[in-house]
């Protein structure tokens, strides 16, 4: 599904990713872990198309398409969706408008009709209930004045509605209490299927207790230094990152 090959990325002249390769197949859940500054967030941002990042070498393909040639919205419409670590506030723009505009943009890209308003409302209410969110939430401006937990839930709500093929979650657990984390994890788990994949970036193992990954990768200094299964995450939790650093240096 997603194929990242020898990816080199620089930001304002500093090389952040230094030859990263990664393959994600449909039905899989991958977790990317690593110490601060290892380039974890850069990977998902580059896949999503953030403009401050310069790809100097390597390739990214998604279902055979060259992602780097696609516009930001084309990537989203193709099913690559990013859950932001710091969701942006957009004053005055109601949440429900954003949801509807996004869903219709996706349908339009697939050559489908716009969703009729009643169907849309039914769908939204259903997802809202699943995320244990109040309906008043739809009338509020996008992320404006939301608590950290509300912002994260809002990200997952969008995922549930837009049903991405590859959901990328950037530190979706940061700033969440246990209750909120469970709701968020339930949301993510409900997305799991044979056709879909999830790529999670996280600093802590804690999230992985709720969303069990098939693969865990440790990112060190712009490269994947070690890959394994869930056991690797537990080992990182108990031993820290130092030993991976030493191992990769050796």
């Amino acid at each position: 599904m997603l194929e990242v090959k020898d990816l080199h990325v620089t930001v304002e002249g500093n090389e952040i990713l230094k030859g990263l390769s990664l393959t994600v197949n449909a039905g899989e859940v991958h977790a990317i872990m690593g110490p601060n500054g290892s380039g974890k967030s850069t990977l998902s941002a580059v896949i999503a198309g953030k403009e401050d990042y310069e790809v100097t070498a390597g390739s990214i393909t998604f279902e055979g398409r060259d992602v780097l040639e696609m516009e930001i919205e084309e990537r989203a419409q193709a099913g690559l969706l990013l859950g932001f670590q710091y969701p942006v506030e957009i004053p005055g723009v109601k949440n429900i408008y954003l949801l509807k505009a996004a869903l219709n943009a996706q349908r339009k890209a697939r050559g489908e009709e716009e969703i009729p308003a009643p169907d849309f409302m039914k769908l939204v209410r259903e997802k809202l209930a699943f995320m244990k969110m109040d309906a008043s939430f739809l009338q509020r401006a996008v992320n404006e004045g939301f608590s950290g937990g509300e912002k994260k839930r809002n990200e997952i709500l969008q995922m549930l509605l837009l049903e991405p093929k590859l959901a990328m979650l950037d530190e979706i657990d940061s700033g969440l209490d246990i209750d909120a984390m469970k709701i968020v994890a339930d949301g993510v788990n409900s997305l799991r299927s044979e056709e879909r994949a999830v790529l999670m970036v996280t600093h802590y193992q804690r999230l992985l207790d709720y969303i069990t990954p098939d693969y865990v990768h440790v990112l060190v200094d712009g490269r994947i230094a070690k890959s394994g299964d869930k056991a690797l995450a537990l080992e990182l939790e108990s031993r820290g990152y130092e030993w991976v650093l030493e191992e990769s240096a050796a």
Binding site: A48, G49, K50, E51, E71, I72, E73, R75, A76, Q77, L81, L82, F84, P87, V88, I90, P91, G92, V93, K94, Y97, L98, A101, A102, A105, Q106, A109, A141, V142, Q158, L162
Partner: protein
């Protein structure tokens, strides 16, 4: 010289010498007493009105065109302007929509202008003026029952001279400013509204009437009076792009609110902004002022300004009555080479007066926009309050956004707050929307409309929808 050319020359001279002929439909360019007399006679005005106009003219002669605004335009030759021309005859206008510029029609489509209005807006000579006659009759009946007077200012001068005499020029005196003096001397049309004591006007004075207004734009004069406890909502202008052969516009609007009266005045201004280089656009110099004379009276100005090459406009409130309230909600969008210098004045005179100013400016292309406002708290305005929010959004790196808020506070019990921000559409906001699959243009529209929301929600419902569409059309091509 050929005879034909000779004849033309002679004819031209002849016309020029014929200024006082009231049968004529236009006067040659230039302004003097005879032109004013001609206009007054044309309108069938009483002697006092003519004298009033001449008084204004003499004051105007002594005045200088203001130059303090943040605007840049070539000098206007006031003697090169023709101050009276009758509306075009039906045979001179396009005979059907087929003859109208398809681009214009496309814009109407985008704005969602109802079909039957499009022809009238495009200046098509419509037989029987579609169903407006019957519409007018129904309206007039309904208004008449309520005791509301709503007619053209010319008609009001003839039919209700005492009312006009009592209020005209009491809010904006003839010599108030250069453009006001000019308007007072030469105004040709506009509206008059009188709502008697205790009456709430049974309908919004809007929709249909905006079409008629299209032909009276140049030196418009509007006077609205609400007696005690009366209320009215008045809507001026139109979202559809309006073209006018007269480049100079200088309108006056006067509002008078007596005790407990409430006037809501909404404007959408979309005059022709000129071509890409700003050539041919309308110069719009407007004086709008409300006098909150009565205790607890309230006036609310809402404006959406997207048109004109030059805009010079400061709808203001004199808050004289105790606990009177003034509001100003404005969205101004400039693109291309447009320049706008707009804002408001809130003059707090009475005790407990309150004012709110919310101004949203959006500058794109090579345009320049300024917010200019005055909040003045007089020594007697105890407990006066003002809140001002004034935000600018920049699109592209060739536009300018400026803020000139004056505050003169002479009372220690007053509370005055001013907040202003200037920013661009955040790259991160655009990225967020696009990452949800929304195109860049739609994302910009969404963010801009969100930015303007506080003002749009003050507009009458259906109008707000049109205003949003208008904004999107105005900003087309501003990004990317």
């Amino acid at each position: 010289m050929a005879t034909e050319e000779m004849e033309q020359l002679v004819r031209r001279e002849y016309t020029q010498g014929f200024v006082t002929d009231i049968e004529s439909d236009t006067v040659p360019p230039g302004l003097d007493e005879s032109v004013i007399a001609f206009i007054s006679q044309k309108k069938g005005e009483p002697q006092w009105m003519l004298e009033w106009r001449l008084e204004a003219y003499h004051q105007w002669l002594k005045m200088k065109e203001p130059s303090w605004a943040h605007l840049n335009y070539p000098p206007i030759d006031y003697q090169a302007i023709s101050y009276y021309s009758a509306p075009k005859k039906p045979e001179d206008r396009p005979q059907s929509l087929d003859e109208v510029d398809p681009k214009l029609l496309e814009t109407y489509e985008k704005l969602g202008i109802p079909l039957h209005e499009r022809a009238a807006l495009a200046g098509v000579a419509v037989d029987a003026v579609f169903d407006s006659v019957s519409v007018t009759t129904t309206f007039k009946e309904k208004l008449g029952e309520a005791g509301v007077i709503f007619c053209s200012i010319s008609e009001a001068i003839r039919e209700y001279p005492e009312l006009v005499k009592k209020y005209l020029g009491t809010v904006v005196p003839q010599g108030d400013n250069f453009f006001a003096a000019l308007n007072s001397a030469v105004f040709t049309d506009g509206s008059f509204v009188f709502v008697p004591e205790g009456v709430t006007c049974p309908m919004e004075l809007s929709t249909y009437f905006r079409i008629n207004a299209a032909n009276t734009g140049q030196f418009e004069r509007t006077l609205i009076v609400c007696e005690k406890q009366a209320q009215v909502s008045y809507l001026e202008g139109c979202t559809a792009p309006q073209r006018d052969e007269n480049q100079l516009h200088a309108a006056i609007v006067e509002l008078v609110a007596l005790e407990d009266a409430y006037i809501k005045y909404s404007t959408v201004q979309n005059w022709y902004p000129g071509d890409e280089d700003g050539k041919g656009g309308i110069y719009n110099f407007v004086t709008k002022r409300a006098d909150c004379r009565g205790d607890r009276s309230k006036v609310s100005w809402t404006q959406v300004e997207t048109g004109s090459a030059i805009t010079w406009k400061y709808p203001s409130c004199l808050l004289r009555g105790k606990d009177s309230v003034g509001e100003f909600y404005s969205v101004a969008v400039t693109n291309g080479r447009q320049q706008a210098d707009t804002g408001t004045k809130m003059i707090h005179i009475g005790e407990g007066t309150k004012s709110t100013i919310v101004s949203k400016g959006i500058s794109a292309g090579n345009s320049e926009q300024s917010y200019r406002g005055l909040v003045k708290i007089g020594p007697r305005a105890k407990r006066a309050r003002n809140f001002t929010q004034c935000d600018s959004l920049l699109i592209g790196d060739r536009s300018g956004a400026h803020t000139f808020p004056y505050q003169e506070i002479g009372n220690s019990t007053a509370t005055v707050e001013h907040e202003a921000t200037t920013s661009k559409i955040g790259e991160d906001q655009l990225f967020y929307c696009r990452q949800r699959g929304i195109s860049e243009e739609d994302a910009v529209n969404m963010i801009v409309n969100g930015f303007c929301k506080d003002v749009f929600q003050e507009l009458p419902m259906e109008f707000a929808v049109e205003a949003e569409a208008l904004l999107n059309v105005t900003l087309e091509g501003a990004v990317g």
